[in-house]
């Protein structure tokens, strides 16, 4: 399946947003996630978000410093 991750086409075999992010080392507890027009705050449960062909997934990682 192909999705658009951070604005770029990406092929993946993962089924959910949680699996996809885990495979890329993104911790959802420390990231803001936008998928399917919805924004998910850090710590949101993303297990139920099924990836769909062509869907856009955007992530902003929270990092130390301020």
């Amino acid at each position: 399946m192909n999705i658009v991750y951070q604005g770029e086409a990406v092929e993946t075999t993962t089924k959910t947003v949680a699996e996809f992010l885990s495979a890329r080392g993104v911790n959802p507890a420390k990231a803001i996630v936008e998928y399917g027009g919805e924004v998910y705050a850090p710590g949101s449960d993303l297990q139920a978000l099924i990836l769909a062909e062509g869907a856009a997934l955007d992530v902003f990682k929270l990092t130390a410093g301020g």
Binding site: I32, V39, G43, S44, K61, G65, G66
Partner: protein, 198 residues
């Protein structure tokens, strides 16, 4: 403070009427607050639990004669030097989710300006679901790569920074890049208040 004469009366009125929350008075928060007051925002709620120390002076809006003072009080004093009529509500507190919701309840926009990742996540998770507008920043360590600093809108959240570079060994929190992020946060707040593009 002498008002910015390039602003229209209605723009000035909008900025003067708004209340902006600042969560954290370190490199991001102190500099963002400075920009906001210079831009014409007159009501701020600033929250921090820490004191000014020597290591803050390389990037934060404090001065050597303020070492040992509570950051919220030192910052208030500095902001009032810019605009003596500003209404700066100083809150000496380590925020958690419940106190964040209560403290910022009357704020139009909240600036997330913490340095610890878990605190950043806590604040966004505490406020975002209610629809509160939040301007967060991450990815501001080190030098150069100015063009990697971006502003992204994600629903009611505005995210500033490169979203990658964490402060740590080999990536210092340096004044120029922290300052860029703080200025971008302030710029986003002003644009949001005035209904302009980010």
């Amino acid at each position: 403070m002498s008002a910015n004469t390039y602003l229209t009366p209605s723009e000035r009125a909008v900025l003067e009427a708004a209340r902006v929350g600042i969560a954290g008075a370190g490199g991001l928060g102190s500099n963002c607050a400075m920009h906001l007051v210079r831009a014409g925002v007159r009501h701020l709620t600033v929250v921090d639990f820490d004191v000014v120390n020597e290591s803050n002076l390389n990037r934060q809006f404090f001065f050597r004669d303020q070492l040992g003072l509570k950051k919220v009080e030192a910052l208030k004093a500095n902001l009032l030097r810019i605009d003596p009529g500003a209404d700066i509500r100083s809150v000496d507190l380590r925020l958690d989710a419940a106190s964040a919701r209560e403290t910022f309840a009357d704020c139009d926009i909240v600036v997330e300006a913490f340095d610890v990742v878990e605190a950043k996540a806590m604040l966004v998770a505490a406020l975002a679901p209610s629809g509160k507008r939040i301007v967060t920043a991450s990815g501001l360590a080190g030098w150069g790569r100015s063009n990697a600093m971006q502003v992204r809108r994600m629903g009611n959240i505005v995210a500033v920074g490169d979203g990658e570079t964490a402060v740590g060994e080999g990536a210092a929190p340096a004044s120029p890049r922290v300052g860029i992020a703080a200025a971008m946060q302030a710029n986003s707040v002003v644009a949001m208040l005035l209904g302009e593009e980010l």
